[in-house]
């Protein structure tokens, strides 16, 4: 397969705000702080930013960033589908921009303020808690979920997780073991919201939200913003930090969890042939990179719920189909002893939920060798978006 985007670009700066509940700052405010931090980390003036990439559902508009940070040189803008699906895709798009000369210093960012004032509004993508919203007059596909009491992502993921259990014998405890591993990582990470360790007994006695998914399996609800700065491989060599080169980047269509009938019919998450989603993306990703899943030293896996981790491990070939649960049960995803530590910052149930975007700076820190839970000899790190959505993945290398 074509080398494509291999080694054409690098992440040269990472920035993040504090993560917490009700920080009392707008999403624009938080985004600016994270973006400026990413530039400072790289040693690139903020005014040099000439490209912006975000999720389609991002609420901070490019023109507001331009008018707030004085980004007069902006010349490249781009979005990528859905929310958590787009984490790694943003880096792939930024790589294309710098590889083609469309831009030189591209910021990928996500900002979230989940306090009620910010997330409740008329906008379709304006956060809010779906289970609290009035749902009369449903004109969209929610009408095939809501009248049956299925309205929150956790309920949709529970139906996906249960099917996986039925087909492959995955156990709810496997999701719990991943929750425990990530909370172990978070307990060692000063930036994490959830610093208290969790045991499997704690997990087993915790509140059930949507059987088989328990509270510690769920991502947190918090405020925070994250940004990364992407530039060309040539430019990267002149900057302050060791570059995290983009070894491969790919995106792919996938059914979405808000359309469960289609997910069950076509997704390939439950085995059988699949031409969409993770397995198709994996082929393009590893083909471009010229490496295989066995060459990856750490993985930052999108984890809206911990059930996504075994499914992602399977789809991307880190283990055979159906063996994601047993893979976790061997301790493979737990730092430092596991052979593929997953979400070493604590992930979305431990560090913070920034729609998966905090997985990117952690991948960069692992490649630089500066993570708090540093994987020894870490050279190649995998990052992906939500396995249950149209999404993308990247491989970073030192």
């Amino acid at each position: 397969m074509s080398a494509g985007l291999r080694d054409r670009a690098a992440i040269v700066g990472i920035g993040q705000t504090a993560f917490g509940r009700n920080l009392g700052r707008s999403e624009l405010d938080l985004a600016c702080e994270a973006i400026m931090a990413a530039c400072a980390d790289a040693g690139v003036p903020v005014g040099s930013i000439d490209g912006l990439v975000s999720y389609d559902i991002e609420q901070v508009a490019a023109w507001h960033l331009g008018s707030t940070l004085g980004l007069d040189g902006l010349r490249f803008f781009c979005g990528t589908p859905s929310g958590g699906g787009g984490v790694a895709s943003t880096v792939g798009l930024a790589t294309m921009a710098v590889a083609t000369g469309a831009a030189e210093h591209v910021i990928c960012f996500r900002s979230r303020n989940r306090s009620k004032a910010a997330s409740y509004g008329p906008g379709h993508n304006q956060g809010g808690r779906p289970w609290e919203k009035t749902t009369s007059g449903l004109a969209d596909l929610r009408q095939f979920h809501h009248p049956f009491g299925i309205a929150a992502p956790v309920q949709e993921m529970a139906l996906i997780a249960r099917r996986h259990m039925g087909v492959f014998g995955t156990r709810a405890e496997h999701f719990g073991m991943q929750a425990v591993a990530q909370r172990h990582h978070a307990s060692l990470n000063p930036a994490a919201i959830m610093r208290a360790p969790l045991t499997l007994d704690d997990w087993a006695s915790s509140r059930m939200i949507a059987d088989p998914i328990r509270l510690p399996d769920c991502s947190l609800e918090n405020d925070g913003a994250v940004a990364v700065l992407v530039t060309s491989a040539e430019r990267a060599r002149d900057l302050r930090q060791p570059p995290a080169y983009v070894l491969g980047a790919a995106q792919g269509y996938h059914t979405i969890h808000t359309e469960l009938a289609d997910t069950f019919a076509r997704s390939g998450l439950f085995g059988g042939p699949s031409t969409i989603g993770g397995r198709a993306i994996a082929e393009r990703l590893f083909g471009m990179a010229g490496v295989g899943p066995g060459d990856v030293d750490a993985a930052m896996i999108f984890d809206h719920f911990t059930m996504a981790v075994p499914l992602t491990l399977e789809q991307y070939g880190f283990c055979p189909m159906g063996e994601g649960g047993p893979f976790i049960a061997t301790g493979a995803t737990r730092w430092p002893e596991g052979r593929l530590p997953v979400n070493t910052h604590g992930g979305s149930n431990g560090e913070a939920f920034v729609h998966g975007f905090n997985h990117l700076p952690e991948a960069v820190r692992q490649v630089r060798g500066t993570a708090v839970n540093q994987v020894e000899g870490c050279e190649i790190v995998f990052v992906n978006g939500a396995i249950t959505d149209t999404h993308g993945a990247v491989l970073l290398r030192c």
Binding site: S136, G137, F144, G149, A151, A261
Partner: protein, 143 residues
């Protein structure tokens, strides 16, 4: 079978007149109808204007037998939609229809502990009020 249920809060309700509405109109007549492509015969749910298999725009609302099997379920605890708040914990299921498509629904008259993979079920229709009927499923007793 006809059952009426009382819901404490506004029930989540499809908007009449969209391209999805014929599904709900059929439920009102106690029929489960799913889009079938008139070119290649492929069934598809959710409804959509083109066949993903052959891209034909010609389709019919095909009558299903209503026989299905349970392929997944969850038991929902708070937080839930306001209309379902007095029912927690309640179950929701995914069924695979005999004809192939999948459907999100609920199981009527089944204890939570009895939920199981491959339970044979049959569609039934529950009137929410004078305007809305939702398809639900009942367990078919094993012979």
């Amino acid at each position: 079978m006809t059952t009426k249920r009382v819901f404490p809060s506004e029930f989540p309700r499809p908007l009449p007149g969209t391209e999805f509405w014929p599904f709900w109109e059929a439920c009102r007549r106690r029929e489960l109808r799913i889009q079938r492509c008139l070119e290649c015969g492929e069934l598809r749910h959710h409804p959509r204007p083109y066949c993903p298999g052959c891209r034909s725009r010609r389709f019919e609302w095909a009558l299903m037998s209503g026989r299905a099997r349970v392929v997944s379920w969850t038991i929902c605890h708070p937080p839930v939609l306001p209309a379902f708040a007095d029912r927690v914990p309640y179950q929701a299921i995914v069924v695979e229809l005999e004809e192939g498509p999948f459907l999100v629904s609920n199981l009527i008259g089944c204890e939570l502990d009895d939920l199981a993979f491959d339970l044979p079920v049959q569609v039934c229709f529950v009137d929410i009020d004078d305007e809305l009927t939702v398809p639900q499923f009942e367990v078919i007793p094993r012979p």
